[in-house]
């Protein structure tokens, strides 16, 4: 049964975070936020050869973080934000779950204590 609200994307955390673990690849992603870019354009600010940049792009592409045009000669790369968003949402959900629940438990306990205090006053 398909549950509501679930995305069909199945991001692989391992691949995504391995891709993000590298500062150059993070810089490439930052660059792509400004818009799509060719290998040449991406390589320009880095002291790096085009093949090296291409290798980084491959890692990002495999992780589903970017996509590249197959039709055009220059094969510009662009961000695929949905994939990232799905993975990050999920990680954040888990990270937040118990912590935020414990925060709420704090206030439930506070109210329980206050209610108990009132009872004691009425006795």
């Amino acid at each position: 049964m398909e549950q509501p609200g679930y995305t069909k994307l199945q991001p692989n955390l391992d691949t995504i975070f391995a891709a993000l673990a590298d500062p150059t690849r993070r810089a490439i992603l930052s660059r792509l936020v400004e818009g799509q870019a060719s290998v040449n354009e991406i390589a320009a600010p880095f002291k790096m050869s085009q093949p090296a940049v291409s290798r980084h792009l491959k890692v990002l592409e495999r992780a589903g973080l970017i996509e590249r045009d197959v039709d055009e000669q220059r094969r510009p790369a662009r961000l695929k934000a949905e994939q990232m968003a799905a993975a990050v949402d999920w990680l954040n959900d888990f990270k937040a779950f118990w912590g935020a629940s414990f925060d709420q438990l704090d206030s439930v306990l506070f109210n329980m204590k206050r209610a108990k205090g009132k009872e004691a006053d009425n006795e």
Binding site: G5, L13, S30, V33, W98, L105, M112, K116
Partner: protein, 170 residues
């Protein structure tokens, strides 16, 4: 894989142990705090070894179902349950958003009496997990402790920029 990764969360609550125990084991109280910022509906809460807690969380048009089967209930010290994602009919399923997430997490909560305070320690470890599940869980735990901080930071940054660019209106 030999080492089973573990999730740990420990917090001292400013309430006596009996009260904290009640907040965890009375569904009327439990549904008020379990699940962050969601509507929590407890469909069944059978507090005894082998008994089930059937939980639904709702937010917007979304719903999330989970089933907890109690293994140990030692009032007021300890609760142990098997924690699983389910479909709407309470059948255990793989996590739709994270297929390699462990199907069953052995969850242990201990309540330590500190007079007018209570120290609560919650741990979760994968149960009867495949290598892929253990790896996925380990990855998450590593990400929570350290290492992926920069990954989160860059993503947060990217999302902010993307949202600005996309010009989403509230």
């Amino acid at each position: 894989m030999s080492e089973i990764p573990e999730y740990r969360l420990e917090r001292i609550f400013n309430a006596p142990r009996d009260m904290v125990w009640r907040a965890w084991t009375d569904p009327e109280l439990l549904h008020r705090w379990y699940g962050p910022g969601v509507e929590t509906i407890i469909h069944k809460f059978d507090l005894r070894p082998g008994g089930a807690w059937l939980n639904e969380m709702k937010w917007g048009d979304n719903a999330d179902f989970s089933k907890m089967v109690f293994q140990e209930v030692t009032q007021p010290e300890k609760l142990v349950w098997h924690h699983s994602s389910t479909d709407a009919d309470w059948n255990i399923t793989a996590n739709a958003r994270m297929p390699d997430w462990p199907r069953v997490l052995l969850t242990t909560v201990t309540f330590e009496d500190m007079g007018d305070k209570t120290n609560v320690l919650l741990t979760q470890i994968p149960m009867d997990a495949t290598d892929a599940e253990i790896a996925c869980f380990a990855e998450m735990m590593a990400g929570m402790d350290q290492g992926w901080g920069s990954g989160y930071a860059i993503m947060d940054e990217l999302f902010v920029e993307l949202q600005v660019e996309g010009g989403h209106d509230e």
